[in-house]
């Protein structure tokens, strides 16, 4: 603490990724200027070296954020940056959220590097935008003020729009970027209008102040809250605010899709959870039917639409809508166990989903994606290892015992049952059963169809490393869901429950 009472260590994760983003931007532009006079092979080699260097810098800054959040979590820190002025706070919840988001971003960085090289996409801007988006996520996760929350969400979204359109020469990528931008900024405007109405009704923007002053009988406050929830539902990709998801996920470059599907969703869930716990605990009964409806709609529509998809990226987009629906179960149940199970689900989702997208990336031929379901025919004979891990991730996403996906769903459904949400759990279990059909179609295609004539592509070392790490976590947590955290006395599930046990 310095003379003015600021706790600078609270800024550590945000500062690490923000500085990393600026460093990547400047280094790329300073180091790539001299490549003009080189011969083409030497130039390609120097571009590859530069790309690797930038990926290393990006992952270094994400690693600092990860370690910082873990240390703060172990120390049980609960500190505001400025104790006199509620703006930015690190506590168990935001520490955990920063850890999960930085893990997802770290894995996305290493899934990106080879893919970007194959497409000749400019690397500096890519990593800088990715880190800027992560900066915004961290700010949103630590915010305890609606204005700062909005800033964080915007700083997360605007780089994500640009990333979706990053494959500039492809029409579909442009379309994805434009759709994401138009609908996303529309959602942001609704979100901001909700904040304005809440401020008009209560005169407060900080969560603690809102909790004291919000009045459920005030139409103005409730209208503001409704608009706020629409903004969240958009970022979470809940039905009926999901229309943009399939197009954006399909059109965006696959590493970007992986990043958006994992990190943006995790951030939105954590931010919503913090808002509910700290600003709106008295409105639980009022919000429950809304979350119930969103959950049922997302589970039903997501799973049913995923069945008819012929494109794996589009199928995963609809499946991510369904997963967002499952997550809503915890917000309906409203017990610390349910919230703990929801965070466990998010942690599992990071590894399952990044793994699934990672296989799609690793199978991408030079300049052409392997995304139609027919492209997976006979992969097992050409690339048995990739086929095996893809099967693992598909089973995990469906919720097969022995993978982390089973425990994620098990704990979530169990806590919902304990909260007497029987009808909702039945819908969710039926949805999971349906999901087996479309998830298992990928292994069926890989193992039971004849191979096409294409020559096998080679996945790069860093993609394989990411896939191995994801597969390892999916299996390890599948057998030991309450594994002891390093440096921590309690098991993972207990820690997760404790972070929300307020």
């Amino acid at each position: 603490m310095d003379a003015h009472g600021f706790n600078w260590h609270v800024l550590m994760p945000v500062a690490a990724v923000a500085v990393g983003s600026l460093a990547v931007l400047v280094l790329e532009v300073l180091l790539s200027r001299r490549t003009g006079e080189l011969t083409p092979p030497a130039r390609a080699a120097s571009e590859r070296r530069l790309a690797l260097l930038l990926a290393f810098i990006a992952s270094f800054s994400l690693l600092i954020a990860l370690v910082a959040s873990y240390v703060l979590l172990l120390a049980g820190v609960d500190t505001a940056f400025d104790p006199q002025n509620a703006m930015l706070r690190i506590d168990g919840l935001s520490g955990m959220a920063i850890g999960i988001v930085s893990m997802g971003a770290l894995l996305s960085v290493w899934l990106s590097s080879t893919y970007l090289m194959a497409l000749h996409i400019n690397h500096g801007e890519y990593y800088a935008l990715l880190l800027l988006a992560v900066t915004g996520m961290f700010i949103a996760l630590c915010a305890e003020n609606l204005m700062l929350l909005f800033m964080g969400v915007e700083l997360m979204s605007i780089p994500a729009y640009a990333l979706a359109a990053f494959d500039r020469s492809k029409l579909r990528s442009n379309e994805a970027g434009l759709k994401y931008f138009l609908l996303g900024s529309f959602a942001s405007a609704i979100f901001l209008y909700g904040i304005a109405l809440l401020y008009g009704a209560t005169g407060r923007l900080d969560y603690a102040g809102l909790q004291r002053t919000i009045d459920p009988s005030s139409t103005l406050a409730m209208a503001g809250l409704a608009l706020l929830l629409v903004g969240f539902a958009f970022k979470l990709a809940l039905v009926p605010f999901h229309q943009y998801v399939p197009d954006v996920y399909e059109g965006a470059p696959t590493p970007v899709t992986a990043f958006i599907s994992v990190c943006v969703k995790t951030t939105a869930v954590f931010v919503l959870l913090r808002l509910l716990l700290q600003a709106l605990p008295d409105l639980a009964g009022l919000l429950r039917p809304i979350f119930w409806l969103l959950a049922v709609a997302s589970i039903v529509v997501g799973n049913l639409m995923a069945i008819v998809q012929r494109n794996v990226k589009r199928m995963l987009a609809y499946s991510s809508i369904a997963h967002a629906g499952y997550l809503m179960l915890a917000l309906v149940s409203e017990t610390p166990e349910a919230y703990g199970a929801m965070i466990f689900y998010l942690l599992a989702y990071v590894f399952m989903n990044l793994g699934a997208f990672g296989v799609v990336i690793a199978l991408a031929a030079r300049g052409r994606d392997c995304e139609r379901i027919e492209d997976f025919a006979g992969i097992a004979s050409r690339r048995p290892g990739l086929a095996a891990v893809m099967t693992l991730f598909m089973l995990a996403l469906a919720g097969m015992p022995g993978t982390v996906g089973f425990w994620a769903k098990f704990h979530l459904f169990e806590s919902a049952l304990e909260a007497d949400e029987v009808a909702l759990v039945i819908v969710a279990i039926l949805g999971s059963v349906v999901s087996f059909y479309y998830y298992l179609r990928v292994p069926v295609e890989m193992y039971m169809r004849d191979a096409s004539e294409e020559e096998p592509t080679h996945a790069s070392t860093n993609e394989l490393a990411v896939l191995l790490a994801c597969a390892g976590v999916v299996l390890y947590l599948g057998f030991f869901p309450n594994a002891r955290l390093p440096g921590h006395a309690a098991g993972l599930l207990d820690v997760l429950r404790a972070t929300v046990g307020m």
């Binding site: 003379a3 003015h4 600026l22 931007l25 400047v26």
Partner: protein, 116 residues
Amino acid sequence: MAEYAGVLIIFALAVLLTGGMLAIQLRLAPKRILQEKLEPFECGESPLVAPRRRYGVKFYLVAILFIVFDVEASYFYPWGVVFRELGAPALVAIGIFTVPLVVGLLYEWCKGALEW
């Protein structure tokens, strides 16, 4: 309301001054009407052309860069007015605000965005 009288007077003076100048130049200025002068001003572009043609993206780039630094300046002014009272924390805050902008300037310079 008496304390707002000054604002009202300034407002009236502004209307009088601008209106007066416009009226004087209408009376006194020589008028030679040409085709080019009657066209709406479009920053050097011809206003009436078929759409769907290539146009210089440089105007757009310069406008964006201008807005970035315009907004930056608009944050510097209020800080400059009160920085003695706010002291060191405000200095650090404006530093944190400025450094990314300077890095951005460096980036656009090296990328050649400032070459016309």
